[in-house]
Amino acid sequence: MGNAERYAKADRDILAAMEKPGRAYLAGLAFTATLTVIGGILWIYQIRNGLGVAGYTHPVNWAIYITNFVFWVGIAHSGTLISAVLYLFRARYRTSFNRAAEAMTVFALMVAGLFPLIHLGRSWVFYYLLPYPNQRQLWVNFRSPLIWDVFAVGTYFTVSLVFFYVGMIPDFAIARRCKEGIRKRFYQVLSLGWKGTEREWRHYGMLYLFLAAFATPLVASVHSVVSWDFAMSVVPGWHTTIFAPYFVAGAIFSGTAMVITLVIPLRKAMNLHEYITDDHFESIAKIMLFTSLIVSYAYIVEFGLAWYGGNVFETGAFRYRALGDFRYLTWAMIFCNSLVPLSLFVKRLRRNTTCLLVVSLLVNVGMWLERFVIIVASLAHDYDPYVWGTYSPTYVEVGISLGSFGMFFTLYLLFVKNLPVLSITEIKEHL
């Protein structure tokens, strides 16, 4: 087969994923959309009735909503990181995952951004978080890590969206050529008149490299800022210097797991075995294993130093984490994040997509539990025994959380039918 035929086949195969959806797809979309609607209705219910419908009780006033925020920001962070870092390292297997990872980043950030608003209760006063000019010279507290979050996540969302969009421009031009009717016009607008001249490619390459180089440290800095929401306070179990790199590694870990969770069914459903191979999965599984080891190191150091330092509050917080009300969640977290990924040391399991899917799902669960345990267990058991308490979520919180998953997967399902799921031009480079 000549080059021209191979390229045409790649166009056909990848764009075929955007053809008329089947029943399974529509059923999946209906299910995720229903979850989203239920989540939305529950949020409206919470706005009407106040935060009392959530399970917040003193001293646990940060719970599932903040857990979801950190979880989705974590998922979002590794998307661009996987794409950008692998681009800078010229890793060939990147082409199988980069588009899915970038889309995941944008959608996860959209979901994550809702949770601070949901957590506010009075969501309409969200603009208090923004340093807008005002007549009374009232400024936000720039020394608060929560404000750093606004800037960090806002910047990251902008850069990720641009990175995602710029990477798709040449593919939009291909879709424009291959599609008809209203879809052709849709891709015509999105492709910005791309002709594929040498000059355009040169500028595109420079911009893409610049965005990748800019996004990489940005990712690390943004998740560091998210970790400082906790580490800057003096709550036992939160105030620790390792939080920034630990959260960054955790974000890459959970994001890698989510990419695997998304791409394995995608490959099967869209019949993309030729472009997303077992070798590619093996490579990304190694990243998941590596980040699992970093996260496990952080667990050991956290627990070890709490014991080493001998501070009664710190020791008490970690003892409560391991043996208190949330002990099952803590041990489940360690099982999912530290023990299960060790199976990936076996090459055969790294190449087995069923095994990889199971591991990645467990890692997703484990990383959600990790955030929950850090946030809730630390607040429930801080300095003064008089104010110790516990927490259990209400159906409103559970419903809104499930709605967030529904929203994420709805957006993802819409993405796979409307935008090229793989980078066609980059795949052609390696054919």
Binding site: W228, M232, T241, F243, P245, Y297, V301, Y308, G309
Partner: protein, 343 residues
């Protein structure tokens, strides 16, 4: 020098002589001798373990630049035995740690020395196994991964035990990670210097031993300068912001008076503000002068930083410090030179 090193057993004699001299200096009951040995040990162990870790990290990801300096980087493996010996020389000094003499499980003198020694010896064994494997052999990556695992634990223990416990109950969970990343950073700096010493001004091109390899090493140093800055910021911002007396004292003792305050600033410059802008431009990454200046800056930064960590709580003797560093430098140069000549 080549003929001298070619003789059988010369290296062993050199190692023994250097060890004996350092033992003689360190065991004399003058104040500051133990502190000087600790500083030399901390710098030396970081550089030696970092060199091997750089080669191991390169091997695990099939980095092309490793081929140019692999043998020289791995030639420092026997120096891990010297480091183990130095640790034994530090036994009398352990009595000056603030926790010494108190009951405890983790901070107990015999266990303290025992675990650090065990991991140094384990690092030696795993490094030897890695060095013995052929560069492109099947089991090389597995051996490299094992070494890296031991390296992380060994450097973390060095940080938590030998440095952090000097100011017990001061605690920083990041210090272990900070130390092993810094050691790796130093390892890349040594790799760049060795590369330049071996290849001089490399020719342009993509073959092994060309400017492309030097550029890859520069990119690694550049990336690690950013990572180091991130860890530095994450560690000290959290402590400063928390403002808990038993934590923030660590920073206050170092920034409230000269000359430590100036040295703290120097650390920032040597490890970030010099290498980062110097290696920012594409052309600079393959310029031997810029790369060697950046590498020397990084190694000096690590040395100054280790001094800053110890200075408020440890006394130094300039004479002992000079002898310890001279001995270690001679040994380092001898093993690398021998590996280079008999390549």
């Amino acid at each position: 020098m080549t003929a001298f090193l070619e003789k059988k057993g010369v290296l062993a004699v050199l190692l023994a002589a250097a060890g004996a001299l350092m033992a003689f200096v360190s065991l004399r009951p003058f104040p500051g001798n133990g502190g000087s040995l600790l500083l030399a040990f901390l710098f030396f162990i970081g550089v030696v373990e970092g060199c091997i870790a750089a080669a191991a990290a390169g091997a695990t990801v099939n980095a092309r630049w490793v081929g140019s300096v692999r043998k020289e980087l791995l030639s420092v493996t026997p120096l891990l035995l010297v480091a183990s010996f130095l640790l034994l020389l530090l036994i009398p000094f352990v009595d000056s740690y603030p926790w010494a003499g108190r009951p405890g499980i983790w901070l107990r003198k015999d266990f303290f020395i025992g675990r650090n020694l065990a991991f140094l010896l384990l690092a030696y064994v795993t490094a030897r196994r890695f060095a013995a494997a052929p560069a492109d052999g099947g089991g090389t990556k597995v051996r490299a991964a094992w070494y890296l695992l031991v390296f992380v634990v060994s450097q973390s223990l060095t940080a938590f035990d030998l440095v952090m416990s000097l100011e017990y109950p001061w605690v920083s969970a990041l210090l272990g990670g900070y130390f092993f990343i810094e050691a790796l950073y130093g390892g890349f700096a040594v790799s760049a210097l060795l590369y330049l010493l071996l290849h001089g001004r490399p020719p342009a091109g993509n073959a092994p031993g060309t400017r492309s390899d030097l550029s890859d090493l520069s990119i690694l140093m550049f990336g690690f300068s950013l990572m180091w800055a991130g860890l530095f910021f994450a560690q000290f911002l959290t402590i400063w912001y928390g403002n808990i007396p038993e934590e923030v004292g660590f920073i206050a003792r170092r920034v409230s008076a000269s000359p430590l305050r100036e040295l703290c600033v120097a650390v920032l410059f040597l490890l970030f503000f010099i290498p980062f802008p110097a290696l920012l431009a594409t052309r600079a990454k393959s310029n031997p002068y810029v790369v060697s200046a950046a590498a020397l800056s990084i190694l000096s930064g690590i040395l100054v930083e280790r001094y800053v960590f110890l200075a408020p709580v440890v006394r130094f003797s300039p004479g002992a410090l000079a002898i310890d560093f001279a001995c270690l430098l001679v040994l380092f140069v001898a093993v690398v030179y021998k590996a280079r000549v008999f390549r």
